[in-house]
Amino acid sequence: MGSVVLEQLRKDFSGVTVLQNINLDINEGEFFALLGPSGCGKTTTMRCIAGFETPTSGTIKIGGKDVANLPPNERNCGMVFQSYALFPHMNVFDNVAYSLNIKELKKSNPLKKIGVYTRMLNSKLVKYPKEIEKKVMDILEYVELTNHAKKLTSELSGGQQQRVALARALVMEPEVLLMDEPLSNLDLKLRHTMRNTIRRIQQDLKITTIFVTHDQEEAMSMADRIAVMKDGEILQIGTPTDLYSNPKTSFIADFVGTSNILEGTVVSAENDLTIVQVGNQQIKSKMKKDKKEVQVIIRPENIIVLNGENDNYDNTFEGVIHLATYLGNTVRYDVKVGDHMLVVDTIYESGANIKQSGEKVRLGVSPERVLLI
């Protein structure tokens, strides 16, 4: 198990730069997510680490060792592919045993090599040695697939296939586990279960894991740290809470969770309170900014719908409900305030009335919750 360090990584594809200034320092045993919209370069970054792409410049170190000259088959990075890439002509057991066969192949004499090759082509002809058998069955037990060992992968459900892919990558005891959008082919419920499974295994084995995803919820719920990428560059690296509460750009604020983003001008800054003019409203924030034109960011759950008793807020706005969406445990209101539309999330308590569109409301936000970018 090792750390992964990327320094000044850059990748050009026939003249087009798809990655630049990629600097990452992933700790041993860390669960690290690369998060970004499609085409942001997250998969390319991962493929550079795995060795399937050669970076145009920059260095990649795995476990402190520069891997520039190592071909992909010698990097010992277990990879779980988006499509799982299971071998369709082999059963579950043979799939998982593949890397162990290869290891045996490398240290065998020519005669034994033929035996191993034959086994890889048809495992009925040549038996597996005891230690391989045990290793494979252990890992299959770990991912709860013992009963499916002799099945063809096409006979398994999506979630089971996913676990075979995971077992196949883990059995080689990789230095790093790479996962490329591993959950995107599963349905919503299974995705939630698999999140927990993957997280549990990662914690158990303390294996350095790099996880590529475009789903911020996935990244937030699983990763220790996240790098948000856009257009081939890293915008911000941080823990999930860090990214959520202190996004560096409005893109991140919007991409990581939902945000109300308003353009405004700073009119005064005194007593730790910055006052920003947004349209004909003034918004107070506890944040300091030394520029004039700012973006005001307010998370929907930080806006409170006031009902007379608790209107003790520094920021209050009058608005009209435009749309109310019932989401189970929350109700989301789109509220028209002046020229702006604000998204407001409120916790739904059973029995409470949902406000109807057209209803007038007062909204409150405390200045601590108003971010300025």
Partner: protein, 567 residues
């Protein structure tokens, strides 16, 4: 530096070898035949590489190069006439094929004509019969002693209904045996042409036939023209029919080229004819691709609607009768060959005088060698093309090697006889004297049939996602190990289907066999050809039946294999 090093390890080396193979046996021969067209005498390119003396001779040959051969094509009436006749033949054949295919294709695609299933099944029959057998079958049907001629005379006709030894005879054989090549593309065209457009036309008040002429027909025209070009190329390159049927006063370019090289050893003449043949075939191929480019209409609008098949008896019964007539001619031809193979003697009578198995006994004793040769040569070509096709498709699909892709389409364009002449000329002298050996024969078969094999393997290769291979590499396998343990097994069905196809076409192959096979390696096709020339029709018939049966069985196996895997 790393790049250069990687060239000499594993796959890089394989790629170099494949390029070498194509260079040696395809590109250089074609280039050499082109040069010979100027020098008028064989040049020894390989010799020039190893001997200074030879190089000097070759240089002198180049100095004496002339354009005489090119001039002679247009002045010396003989060659020019051959070219014109060949073009005329191909033109007539492609037009007639179109004409007879339109009703049949329409009948199959759009109507519930009676016996539709049977007709669809029987139209594949001509494809399994090599043209020199069909040509010879026409002789025993329409010739002076043929049963058709007998009936014709009984009905009051004089002489022969059709003289098989004529342009008409050649054209008729080609029309009836090549039409299936055009039929299926046309059926497809009729099926996809947008039904809703026709409904719109009918909705606006146009009658059925008016709709057909104004809407349906114009929509399938591009498809038909490109199909006609395919037939043109097939007819132009066909060697089996003209070599059997062309009378001595009818020049056709393929026959001329064959005679120049195997009769007169006129290298220059054969070379210029070869160059002309390749030029024509290449032009037709280019034209066909050009026409298909960006003309993909038909399948534009989502799901094709279920066609409502026409049931109108007044239309379907004539269509069925017509289709039946077209389909029955090749069947009668094959039936005649079968009958003849069992006949003691068969004069100018509707049926043989008696029946015997003697001819089969003869070929299974005295001609067993030919059958063996065919099997060995076909097996050799099969193995070689399997190895080549696997790697070629690997490079084409994974590394997008357009050069290799292009090289494997060249043999599709070059007529067999032209390719044969190019090989004979190039490998005629030391240091690479291969002409007259089984090796060059196998290589010639392989290169000629490789496109079919590659098409099959490229298809399977494309269905294997790159992820799968990367997963193997990620798990520690080298690219070669990944190829052996993962890609290979997954490609097996495609390889199996493709290799049977190669085997079958090699057994059927005419031009290369007749031109290049040495006596001790004479395959069945050459034996049949020689028997026909010697007018030993009975043993030719028996051998033909054996050949066609072999082809049918293998083809059925191939269909099963590819059908099961949904290729």
């Amino acid at each position: 530096m790393r790049k250069i090093k990687s060239l000499f390890t594993g796959l890089g080396l394989v790629k170099l070898l494949i390029y070498g193979f194509f260079l040696l046996f395809l590109i250089i021969p074609l280039l050499s035949v082109f040069l010979v067209a100027f020098t008028n005498e064989p040049i020894n390119l390989f010799g020039s590489l190893i001997s200074l003396e030879q190089l000097q001779t070759t240089m002198n040959q180049f100095k004496n190069a002339t354009l005489d051969n090119f001039k002679s094509i247009f002045s010396y009436g003989h060659y020019f006439e051959g070219l014109i006749n060949s073009l005329k033949l191909s033109f007539i054949v492609s037009i007639w094929v179109l004409v007879i295919c339109i009703p049949i294709a329409f009948g199959i695609a759009r109507t519930n004509m009676p016996f539709k299933k049977t007709i669809s099944a029987l139209v594949t029959v001509p494809l399994v019969i090599p043209t020199f057998i069909s040509a010879y079958a026409f002789i025993i049907m329409f010739g002076r002693a043929g049963w058709v001629t007998y009936i014709y005379e009984k009905l009051g006709g004089e002489g022969m209904l059709i003289d098989p030894y004529s342009m008409t005879g050649i054209a008729i054989v080609q029309i009836f045996f090549f039409f299936p090549y055009a039929l299926w593309p046309m059926v497809a065209a009729f099926k996809v042409s947008d039904i809703s457009l026709e409904e719109a036309s009918r909705n606006m008040g146009a009658k059925g036939w008016l709709t057909f002429i104004t809407v349906t027909f114009p929509l399938v025209i591009p498809g038909m023209l490109s199909t006609a070009l395919v037939i043109f190329a097939v007819s132009f390159s066909d060697f089996g029919t003209p070599i059997i049927l062309a009378p001595s006063d009818l020049n056709l370019i393929v026959v001329d080229a064959y005679r120049e090289i195997s009769g007169f050893f006129n290298w220059g003449g054969a070379a210029i004819l070869t160059v002309i043949m390749i030029a024509v075939a290449g032009f037709v191929y280019w034209l066909q691709n050009y026409m298909l480019k960006g003309r993909d209409y038909g399948v534009v609008s989502g799901k094709p609607k279920q066609v409502k098949l026409i049931d109108h008896k007044a239309l379907t019964i004539p269509l069925s009768i017509f289709s039946g007539f077209v389909v029955i001619v090749p069947l009668l031809a094959m039936g005649t060959v079968i009958l003849q193979s069992f006949a003691t003697t068969w004069g100018k009578d509707p049926l043989p005088n008696g029946y015997t198995l003697d001819h089969y006994r003869t070929i299974f004793t005295s001609s067993l060698g030919n059958i063996q040769n065919s099997l060995i040569l076909a097996a050799g070509a099969l193995i070689l093309s399997v190895v080549l096709a696997i790697f070629v498709s690997y490079f084409v699909v994974r590394y997008r090697s357009t050069t290799l892709d292009f090289m494997t389409t060249i043999p599709l364009i070059v007529p067999g006889i032209a390719f044969g002449i190019a090989l004979i000329q190039t490998f005629n002298t030391a240091p690479l004297q291969l002409t007259g050996t089984a090796i060059i024969l196998i290589i010639a078969y392989t290169i000629r049939r490789l496109p079919y094999m590659v098409r099959s393997t490229v298809g399977t290769m494309k269905s294997i996602k790159q992820d799968i291979e990367e997963a193997a590499v990620n798990l520690g396998a080298s690219t070669l190990t990944a190829a052996i343990t993962v890609i290979g097994p997954l490609m097996l069905p495609g390889i199996a289907a493709g290799s049977i196809l190669v085997f079958v076409t090699v057994i059927k192959e005419t031009s290369i066999s007749i031109l290049m096979a040495p006596a001790e390696w004479a395959p069945m096709s050459l034996a049949i050809f020689q028997n026909v020339l010697r007018a030993e029709y009975y043993s030719a018939a028996a051998m033909s039946v054996v050949l066609v049966v072999m082809v049918l069985v293998l083809q059925a196996i191939a269909n099963r294999l590819s059908g099961r895997n949904g290729l």
